[in-house]
Structure formats: structure tokens, C-alpha cells
Amino acid sequence: MADVLPSAELAVARSRSQSPAARRAHGLLPKLGLAVYLLALMLPIYWLVSMSLRSNEDIMSTLAFWPHHPSLQKYYYILNDSTWVHAFGVSLTYVALNTVISVTAALPAAYAFNRFHFIGDKYLFFWLLSNLMAPAAVYAMPFFNFYYAIGLFDTVWAVALAHCLFNVPVAVWILEGFVAGVPREIDEMAAIDGYSFPRFFIRIFLPLIANGVGVTAFFCFMFSWVEQLLATTLTATDALPFAAVMSRSYSVSGMDWSLLAAAGVLTMIPGAIVIWFVRNHIAKGFALGRV
């Protein structure tokens, strides 16, 4: 391949070689639009953070743009309250369990879908896809009965397994896109070199799609972390996720807004941390590896 111009350099070069007028028109308006969008995006989040730092009396009495007497009181309360801490722990647990299960099961399947042709493969793939679109509401009742019947009701396992409904298809779909990016010659060379399939898969293939596995794990984490309908339906007391605890945050004088806000802000943190690690591959992952 000839020396290819890196796209960033080209962008710089392009902008530098434009006439000043053109540069202004092309540069300013889009940037302004982007800034407006980002502002609109951050505003509700900012508002929530602001709420979390104010007391309920303060919130109900004035509409302030920023907290005048910020206090981390509610945060301390949450982090020291066993119900809340347990709830966060429960949520993190079933999300982690689900991610591991989904990704592990999806890896061989993604490989099979991409490399092989087998009876019913198109139908199976379509069925998987359709489960991605399954309305959780439709499954709330059947899951309730099902997990009660097998004795897993009100455990992290119930939620972890229930979330497989949509997360396994997500994992297969994204991973399949990344598997497609590995040339088949590599498989053939490994076979010629005498690798057994399990050895080849673990020592050669997996490192090549390490990015893809990371992105997939991120998405499984994300979709499981945000889903609350099934999580609250399938739990009662022992395995309450934070959403259930949040919906019970009443104080004597009505909704405890600042407590809710603080809890809300805390729930954003795991997501933000996880996405930071895969930020460079995010665009490709969102395109489900296929673009």
C-alpha cells in the first residue's frame, strides 16, 4: 500500500489550505451547533448533580441555578446505608455475571456464524436478532412465573439470566462483526501449523479480537445496567437493585429529591468508567462492528 495520508493530517491540511472565508463558514456554524447540542445534553445531568448537592428544603423553596450551599450529605448517607450499598452491590453483581455469561457464550457462536454455514443458520441468526427487539414487558410476567417456579426468584442469578434475553444477541451480533474482520487465512495457517481448535481459538484468535471483546463487554454491561423493568420484577427483598430502592425514597414530607438525585448521580459513575476504557473503539462498536 502506498503511503496513505492519515485522515487527521488531511483534515488539518484541508482546513489550512482553505481561504479564510471558507474556513469561517465551514468551521464556525457546525461547531456552534455541536456546542448547543452538547449544552442541551449536559443540562439535565448538571441539574441532577446540582439537586444532589442541595437539601430538600432548599430545593423546594428556591429555583437556583447552582447550589448555594453545596453539601455531600446525601452521598454520605447512601454510601453508609446498608440497604443502598447492598442494592448497588446487587446491581453490579448481576450485571457482571450477565456480561461474563453473555460474552462467553457468544464467542464460539459468533465464530461459527461467521466462518461456517450450517443448517438453519439464517433462521437462528434472525431469531437471535428478534430477541434483541423483544419488549421486556412481554417477558415480565412469564419470567416472574418461571424464575419463581425454579426457585431463583429474588436472586442475582434470576436477573443475570433474564438479561441474557437481549444481551446474548447483542454480544453475538457485535462479536460477529469483529470476527469478520479477521482474515480466514489465519485460521487456515493455524490449522496447517497443527494447532488444535481450542488452542487456536484461545491463543491466536482471541487476542486478535481483543478490542471487539472489550467493546462487546461494554455493551453488555451497559444494556444490563440500564434495564430496570425485569430487574425489579424478578426481585423482592434479598436482591433488590438500586432502582427498587430508589422508588421507595419517600421521606415524611414527600419525595426525597436530593437523595434520589444523589443516588442517580452515583449510578452514572460505573457507566462512565467503563466507557472511558473503550472510548477509542466506541464508534466501531456502536456500528456493531459491521461498518
Binding site: P6, A8, A11, P30, K31, G33, L38, L41, L43, P44, I45, W47, L48, M51, L63, S102, A105, A106, P108, R115, F116, H117, F118, I119, L128, S130, N131, M133, A134, P135, A136, A137, V138, M141, P142, N145, F146, L161, L165, V168, V172, M222, W225, V226, Q228, L229, F242, A243, A261, A263, G264, M268, A272, R279, I282, A283, K284, F286, A287, V291
Partner: protein
């Protein structure tokens, strides 16, 4: 691309198959079971055939009317949301830089709304839209509008639309951005050499190359709006009245609230069938697009 026929690949697919079987198929069996029966309570069931289904699809029955109402609300919501989110998302994606160090952090910020648990989004907007403690609510009433989420049906409906746009436009942006990045630079260079205007470049190069991504985007967004539950539930509870009672909310109300298993099961099946059909349509469109590309 020729793929070797290997039925032993089923072994590799088996874990996924089993998992999804238990998550999807078996529970659906119980639903099918309930949808064909009626109950006098106390675990006594008798056969009802397609009775529930006929009731459901008959707008003159109570359940039929309710179903139609929720369905039409959901469809119009999906349409409006799509009409706003897709152009907006594409527009924002076009403004993002094509490379450089700002891209990573920008994408993370843009993706933030999607990382927030849905009940928290509901809570966030519940606060934000109140006229007394929220900026949004205060601003709108300050402008003189009759804005009240809990009492005004239009306010409630519009707010849900705004929430959904806020929440999910990032998905459109990120998918579109990925699609744009996949276009080789040479096309942009050729467009410059051909003295094409920005619009001409968009219509003749970017939009055609985004076809497949846009189909996926529309599919995902339509399906997600079609099964929306948590956000409207937290913010409006389905009200005022039944103004924001979308399909999922109604279904859960019937199923878990009133313990009317028969109608709820029938509704579940029809609901599921609709989503399956739409899914199949999109799947067909996507494979057609693929086939056309390689023609």
C-alpha cells in the same frame, strides 16, 4: 464469500441457543398457554380458544379498545421520535471532527445519556420538568405556556418525546459517525476536485454510503420506542389518564396489576408478533441492500 458447510458448528452455537431458548422460547410457551385459557381463579383453567385474541382485535370490547389506543399511541410516538432523532443525529454526526484527540472525549460525552439507568432518567426528567424545582418546567411556564406534566396530556406527551430525543439521539449520532468514518478519504478529495458544494457532497457521497447504517438505526430506534416503558412510567405513570399509556405500560398494568392472565397473554403474543414482523421486514431490507452492493 464461500463458507464451508459444517453442521458441527451447532456445537459452537449450542450455549447461545440454550440460553436464548430458556430466556425466550420457554417463557413464551407459558404465555401461549395462558392466552388460550380462561381462569376462574385458584388455578382452575378452562379452554378459551382464540377468544382472547378476538376480543383483543375487536375495538368494541374493553380490552380491544384499550389495545388499539395503546398501539396507536405507540406508533405515533415512534414516528414522531424517529422524525426528530434521525435528522438531528445525522446533523450532529456531521459536525464531529473526523480525527484528532478531541474525538474520544467527545464521543464519551455524547454517549453519556445512554449509560444512565432508565429509572434515573425518569427521575432526572421528573425533577427537570417540574415547574417548581426544574429548569425545563420553570422555563416553559416562564414563557407563558400551560406546561404541566402531571395534568396536561399534551405536556406529558411532548415531554416524553423530548426525553426520548435526549436519551437516544446519541445512538443515532454514534452509529452515523461510525458510518461516516468508514468512507474513504479519496471520495472527499474527489468531491473537492470536482468543486462539489457541501450539500452535493452530502447527498451524493455521504448519504448513499450511509444507507445500511441508517437502516440499522431506524430499526433499533423504532423497536426501542415501540417497547418504551421505564421512562414514561417514572415520569408520568402512564398519565394523565391514559395519555402516555404506551403498549408496554398497559401490558404490565394488565399482567401484573390485575392478574388477568388470559388477556395479558394474548396481548403479549400479538405485541411480540408485531415486533417480529417489523424485525423481519428490516432484516429483508438489509440483506437486499447487501445483495445489491455486491451485484
Amino acid at each position: 464469500m464461500e463458507k464451508p458447510l459444517n453442521n458441527r458448528a451447532w456445537l459452537m452455537v449450542a450455549p447461545v441457543f440454550v440460553l436464548v431458548l430458556f430466556s425466550a422460547l420457554l417463557p413464551m410457551m407459558t404465555v401461549v398457554n395462558y392466552s388460550l385459557q380462561d381462569s376462574m381463579g385458584q388455578n382452575q383453567f378452562f379452554w378459551n380458544g382464540d377468544g382472547w385474541f378476538r376480543d383483543l382485535l375487536n375495538p368494541s370490547t374493553e380490552i380491544g379498545a384499550r389495545f388499539q389506543d395503546a398501539l396507536s399511541k405507540n406508533l405515533s410516538f415512534s414516528l414522531v421520535a424517529l422524525l426528530i432523532e434521525v435528522p438531528l443525529g445525522i446533523a450532529v454526526a456531521l459536525t464531529l471532527p473526523r480525527g484528532g484527540r478531541a474525538v474520544g472525549p467527545l464521543l464519551v460525552i455524547i454517549a453519556l445519556p445512554m449509560l444512565i439507568p432508565w429509572n434515573v432518567i425518569g427521575t432526572m426528567w421528573q425533577i427537570f420538568s417540574r415547574a417548581d424545582i426544574g429548569l425545563f418546567g420553570a422555563a416553559l411556564t416562564g414563557l407563558g405556556l400551560h406546561y404541566n406534566v402531571t395534568q396536561n396530556a399534551i405536556s406529558a406527551w411532548c415531554t416524553i418525546v423530548v426525553i426520548d430525543v435526549w436519551h437516544w439521539t446519541p445512538l443515532v449520532i454514534l452509529l452515523t459517525y461510525a458510518g461516516l468514518r468508514a468512507i474513504p478519504d479519496a471520495f472527499y478529495q474527489a468531491a473537492r476536485i470536482d468543486a462539489a458544494s457541501r450539500w452535493a457532497t452530502f447527498f451524493n457521497i455521504e448519504l448513499p454510503k450511509l444507507q445500511k447504517v441508517l437502516v440499522i438505526v431506524v430499526l433499533l430506534r423504532f423497536m426501542q420506542t415501540f417497547m418504551i416503558y421505564t421512562e414514561p412510567f417514572v415520569v408520568t405513570g402512564g398519565g394523565p389518564g391514559s395519555a402516555t399509556t404506551f403498549l408496554s405500560i398497559d401490558l404490565v398494568k394488565i399482567a401484573l396489576g390485575q392478574v388477568d392472565l388470559g388477556p395479558a397473554a394474548a396481548m403479549s403474543l400479538v405485541y411480540n408478533l408485531i415486533t417480529l414482523t417489523i424485525c423481519w421486514i428490516f432484516f429483508t431490507i438489509m440483506t437486499q441492500l447487501d445483495r445489491r452492493r455486491y451485484a
